[in-house]
């Protein structure tokens, strides 16, 4: 069985009008057994920058800690906040350093650029190949379902509350068609001067 499907999980991020949203399920499981329903895979790493790390749970935690290490040093030395594109490059580099013994995560990045306030989403494979589309990114064990939901529901220039509805429906319905994703969800909507965190009620199976 695939190592990337050992713990299960789903993350999706979408661009909107001057905003981005990122959503994650909350399941922590070991193969078929669900151990916890409070394990979100999305972390806030900057004032308007979020990273989702679905995949093997131990790598989720370790990669987040190592990212924080590099971020902290960057911000101390350069005396400025890291921009989303730079963060992508850094994460890609971190993953490729382990090219022949990789971290088993396929990250998703969502944020607003601190300088020009442009929305930014990105995802990459487990060895750091980045993909920076104009609409949405998905990752986890139900990517096929997520791609289908996002393609059907997403449209450009959605306002923050519309974006929230869209991303929530995409995640929840895709996760419902996957045995090892779901068990609760968290959605973050990132706008220029505020960030909303909503815990979405889902089917708990």
């Amino acid at each position: 069985m695939s190592i990337l499907a050992y713990n299960g999980g789903a993350v999706v991020a979408m661009k909107g009008k001057d905003c981005v949203a990122i959503a994650t399920d909350k399941r922590y499981g070991i193969q078929a057994q669900t151990v916890s329903t409070n394990f979100p895979k999305v972390y806030q790493i900057g004032p308007s920058l979020f990273v989702g790390l679905p995949g093997l749970a131990t790598d989720t935690q370790t990669v987040y800690q190592r990212l924080k290490f590099r971020m902290n040093l960057y911000e101390l030395k350069e005396n400025r906040i890291m921009r989303p594109k730079t963060f992508s490059a850094m994460l890609s580099n971190l993953l490729y350093e382990r090219r022949f013994g990789p971290y088993f995560i396929e990250p998703v990045i969502a944020g607003l650029d601190p300088i020009d306030n442009q929305p930014y989403v990105c995802n990459m494979d487990l060895i750091g190949c980045p993909n920076e589309p104009e609409d949405f990114v998905v990752s986890g064990t139900c990517t096929d379902q997520l791609y289908g939901m996002c393609e059907a529901l997403w449209e450009p220039d959605l306002k923050p509350d519309e974006l929230f509805e869209t991303i929530s429906q995409a995640l929840v319905n895709a996760a419902d068609r996957d045995a090892i994703s779901g068990w609760g969800a968290v959605v973050y909507v990132i706008e220029k001067d505020k960030i909303t965190e909503k815990h979405v009620k889902t089917r708990m199976d």
Partner: protein
């Protein structure tokens, strides 16, 4: 062949002194002053800026005060290039601890670790010691607000108020008289810092361009590190000059009979 061993830096003198370390401290006593004061509700570091040439393209916002992590700040006195290497190392040490233990490094641990590095340069390698003394201010959950000083020998100590750099001895004795333990608030400490700095700055008058000041306080379980703006520094200086003028005027008054 013997010439190769003549200039080793890491040997004792016949009187039992380490000359290179003492020479390093001599280098620091010519550098811009830095002082730190522990107050009841916070800590502050103040430093004299030496690079005030108009032609300097102002890229850095702080010449001598460096943030090390969320809970600690340091100020340096001595050779700036050596200081850059050490502050970089301090930041790395702090992050490595955070990565390994999942919590912020306690203040004394960080100081102690770097001092072990500094000490190594006085004992082996054949390299010269770092020509930097460092003042550290920080907060941790074990001992609260703390102020430390370290020097090229790798010695360090915890202080309530201290000074390094040019005229530091005069500053320390001045602080000894004026500092009141457990009674000095951050605002009083700021005024005291300006007073002491004005004495150490030789003949030159205090101006906001010449002074850097940073404070560290805790609020809502988070550490707040602030570098004062030049307007705030200007206000502190003008308040100090006003109180100096009042003291002068009071002296000149004939004593009431």
């Amino acid at each position: 062949m013997a010439r190769r061993y003549d200039t080793r830096t890491t040997i004792f003198s016949p009187e039992g002194r380490l000359y290179q370390v003492e020479y390093a401290m001599e280098a620091i006593s010519h550098a811009g002053t830095s002082l730190g004061i522990l107050a009841t509700d916070g800590i502050l570091l103040a430093a004299e800026r030496r690079n005030t040439n108009k032609l300097l393209d102002e890229v850095f916002f702080s010449e001598k005060i460096y943030k090390l992590n969320d809970d600690m700040v340091c100020s340096v006195a001595g050779i700036t290039s050596d200081a850059n290497v050490l502050t970089n190392e301090l930041r790395m040490i702090a992050q490595r601890y955070l990565l390994q233990y999942g919590e912020s490094i306690p203040c004394e641990q960080l100081v102690s670790w770097l001092c072990d590095v500094k000490q190594a340069y006085t004992q082996y390698g054949g390299k010269r010691p770092f020509g930097v003394s460092i003042l550290y201010m920080g907060w941790d959950k074990h001992y609260g607000y703390q102020l430390y000083q370290s020097d090229p020998s790798g010695n360090y100590g915890g202080w309530k108020a201290t000074c390094i750099g040019n005229n530091s001895a005069a500053a320390v004795s001045s602080l000894k008289q004026e500092y009141k333990e457990n009674e000095t608030t951050l605002a009083e400490a700021q005024a005291l810092a300006v007073k002491v700095l004005s004495k150490t700055l030789d003949m030159t008058k205090l101006t906001p361009e010449k002074v850097e000041m940073a404070t560290l306080t805790r609020k809502d379980n988070k550490t707040i590190i602030r570098i004062l703006t030049s307007t705030e520094v200007e206000k502190l200086i003008s308040d100090f000059e006003k109180s100096e003028a009042e003291a002068e005027a009071a002296k000149k008054q004939p004593p009431k009979s």
